[in-house]
Symmetry: D2
Subunit: 320 residues, 4 copies
């Protein structure tokens, strides 16, 4: 069986490990890998690579994706999908491994209906897929968030400042919640535990009564950071700054957690394809690797971290 591989959506550390692992495992399953550049767009443009072309490159443990990734909203069009299937067929490609997030999985599901066997591998630093405990890249990205927060701490403490740090999350608070707890942040603001601007500023003001410096971790797209800073400066009378970690969170060599997870996901994807499964995505529940129909994965109830939220509330209460 010829299997195409694409990386789609935002890049995440660990994507290259998956590419390398399926290339290595494929012959053991009597399969052949065809690399496709630039996500779904690369299918339409027939931008295919033989695995030999990248064999001498030392890309396996690099961040990003050696295959590239681009947005391609046009792929929502059924005609274009049919064209994609025709092209894949013409190259003898019967199956597709799609490394990406939920948007990318939808494309995979549609191609499955058109006869291509598809398996999704969850790779997004935001950890915003509820059917799997972890997505590839989250551990690496949140480790960096911790490192960055601790790096900036000394200067904020030295100057008695208040700092709002925005971390990524794509409307999900996991990076903020995990990195905020890990660094003992004074206030954590995530979409899953909504607060009004006034509430946040009131909390910061409360902290300012017992401490000369304050750290607030805010999940991206949750609030206007500058507005928060301006309100805080005014209400709590403290020199307030902002820091947006931004694209720094996407980079770096994957952590051992993400490497091992990526290798296991790759193995499961190959196992599923060798059993003629299609329209599935893989995920994890701890050490165990699971496979879930894509439609079911899409409808999984929002993942929450109950214990962590309880810990956060208890810590907050203890500080009062």
């Amino acid at each position: 069986m010829k299997i195409g591989v694409i990386t789609s959506g935002g890049d995440a550390p660990g994507m290259n490990i998956v590419i390398d692992t399926v290339i290595t495992l494929a012959p053991q399953y009597g399969c052949e890998i065809v690399l496709i550049k630039n996500a779904y767009k690369g299918i339409i443009e027939e931008d295919f690579l033989d695995v030999k072309t990248i064999q001498h490159l030392n890309y396996r443990n690099d961040g990003g994706t050696i295959l590239g990734s681009v947005r391609f909203p046009e792929f929502a069009d059924t005609e274009l999908r049919k064209k994609a299937v025709k092209i894949l067929n013409s190259h003898g490609i019967e199956a597709l491994i799609v490394i990406g997030g939920d948007g990318s999985f939808q494309g995979a599901s549609e191609l499955s209906k058109l006869g291509i066997k598809t398996i999704g591998i969850p790779a997004t630093i935001d950890n915003d897929l509820s059917y799997s405990e972890k997505t590839l890249g989250f551990d690496t990205a949140s480790n960096f968030a911790v490192e960055a927060i601790e790096r900036v701490k000394s200067t904020i403490i030295s100057h008695h400042r208040c700092l709002f740090i925005e971390v990524m999350g794509n409307k999900r608070g996991d990076i903020a919640l995990f990195s905020g707890l890990a660094t003992n942040a004074d206030v954590i603001v995530i979409p899953e535990m909504k607060k009004s601007y006034e509430q946040i500023v009131a909390e910061v003001k409360e902290v300012s009564k017992r401490q000369k410096y304050i750290f607030i971790i805010v999940s991206e797209r949750t609030y206007d950071l500058e507005k928060l800073a301006t309100m805080t400066k005014k209400e709590a009378n403290i020199d307030t700054r902002t820091l947006v970690l931004g694209h720094l969170q996407r980079g770096g060599s994957p952590s051992i957690f993400d490497r091992i997870l990526g290798m296991k996901f790759s193995y499961k994807a190959m196992e599923l394809l060798s059993q003629n499964a299609t329209d599935y995505c893989v995920g994890n529940k701890g050490d165990e690797i699971i496979a879930v129909p894509i439609s079911e994965a899409a409808n999984a109830p929002l993942k929450r971290h109950d214990i962590l939220e309880k810990i956060y509330k208890k810590i907050e209460k203890g500080k009062e």
Copy 2:
């Protein structure tokens, strides 16, 4: 309730997070924490600390344990245990949180029989407790192993050498298996997949036919590293070196995985004590936190990593 806290056995990154978290959470449960230095020995020596004495120290995210840890084989003596209980009682200490490995848990179990409520929190870089998927410190230690292996790679490749790298494990191969797979090592040697000296050297010789440099990750106490190197040099005719990561693996600030795990373990320990549970140890199954009677934990069947072993075998086969 007054709760004593000790760290026992080999230190592991994350121990300090647990100490800090139980101190923070205790008042929410109407409890008070008493810090005990130098493991079980500190009980006998009444080497107790009030939490206030460490509050101004910035120890939370440091490796090691601020409470110290020493070997204390004398504690196997029942009389000494009874003395320990008497001392704890005289200080009003009704419960004990023991942060350490299986040896430390046995002590906790014995104290439980003598009337002290005890909860074990698994902290050992070796990941050698089968009842829990992960132990505190393993993620940090194995991340460092990966970093060290990659750091040394360039010099080995530059000089066309063969390198045997010994990582820790305490008769268990997890650090070796995980870090070896993560770094794409040529050969991985762990106690769970035994090989004779001759087999290992034969494998290395095979690799030397297709590569000018070779990396072999060996789990500690599995083989005599120098003997392996000497045999390899002779049989495969390649300049062969050895590297023992040793105590470097114990250090460093805990990864976000270990920090979050440590906080959850702490929370579970406090919950258990508040429900009057005793003789339990906490652990994890993925995101979920579990509690297991210590005797049951001690008898858990040996944890294996089936998927990883299968991946390793397939990769090996693919290279042939």
Copy 3:
């Protein structure tokens, strides 16, 4: 002799090493150290600390400054300076070691005229003091800039983007020039080599003809980053993003270069004071430590890095 120590201006990695080293060396010179909090303001507020109060803290290799630093423009007032001298005298403090930048040195020079023996130690990540080859913190900060630029590279390459990265410099281009060359940036923009907005965008456009991704390192306060991005997007038709490293550059444990430099500066300061020198600042010319009158240091001609600028121009030309 009683010597006061302050850290003043923006904090820089290495400040704490200097504090620790002068505390350690002082008794060898028959001197005693008095720690003063929050820069010059702390003198007026008599916010003094005995060295014993920080001895148990593990602050030596931390970023930031354990003494704190605040802006205090009021100190330009002669009356306030006289008051400061009176306070210092009342505590028996005859000398002052001022760890900071040129603004801080001016204050030291003025206090010297009023009878306090003062020595300046250059600590600022911007490397913006021309009399010394290096200032404390620059090596650490520029090492981080390199790390950050390399971290963000993979995501920019994966998505075929153009990224403008702003690094610190306080109107000086050293962090940008050094980190830009070290990471092989496509375009480097520093105040010492002025270019118009149009020139920069034209250069980027040129790069976009041969590459699918582009990195531009810009020294802070040199250009409006967003304006550059908007112009580039329009002119070169490439998805363009911006990243401001900001306060992240101030943090982190000092590099070995900064630690050794800090220790040598501290030694020289103690030597100078023991010889009754005043109104001097210390600096380096390679391994050698120099001492320069503060007024002379203030008038040193602008430091340029001729070889590096030539290398940059040759590299740019080679790419055309």
Copy 4:
């Protein structure tokens, strides 16, 4: 002019930066670079590479050397050198840039006498070339030594142990002296400041009276580490361990200091060759780049770090 480039002796971080920089600069001088693999041996074996073969590899900032390096004592033979010159001539190679240490420079000097224009670039982590303040790789290696020493500290402190850490140096104490001072080691042992076994153990014993843990940094090949540990255990009655950093010190991506130094060395080498200089090696005095005849460099008086040795002695005295 066709210029050959070799890396010779032990590898050092920064070698690849030099290779990349001379490749980039060469056309600006009307020159062409020929890459030669495996040091002097590669000349004899005519193991030459065109620069195009490595252009797509992302090697520039990697540790090690992409050209490889092997020991080749046979090159001491004059006949073999004449053969090398004949081979170089037959390929039109008139000049040779030799990246390595003093042994490598001697070969370059001999080839110069036989008509090949040669320039040496000092690259060795040991910093053991006295004519230059710094050699390529020293800053990176000693930064790692600091990181490793600090990483291992927490476990040694937690268990109240004494640790002897051996760092590299090739009979020179720079890595030990710099990293020992930077980490505030209790005892530093370097060949430039000889001590008997008994003296060292006596010093350690002295430290053991005021501290529960002890760090001793020892320069490689200075003493038998195990003998020191055994003597210490016996004399000072403290649990004593050893750690050999070994090849870990050679690896890692070069620090910004080494990158910039490597680029400047490369520039100077090209300038010298374009002026028809030969038998020179480049070096630095702070920011300034110097050129010294190889014979003169070989006879430079042993470099000492007076201020650092004085600081160490004063710190030691202060501790008594």
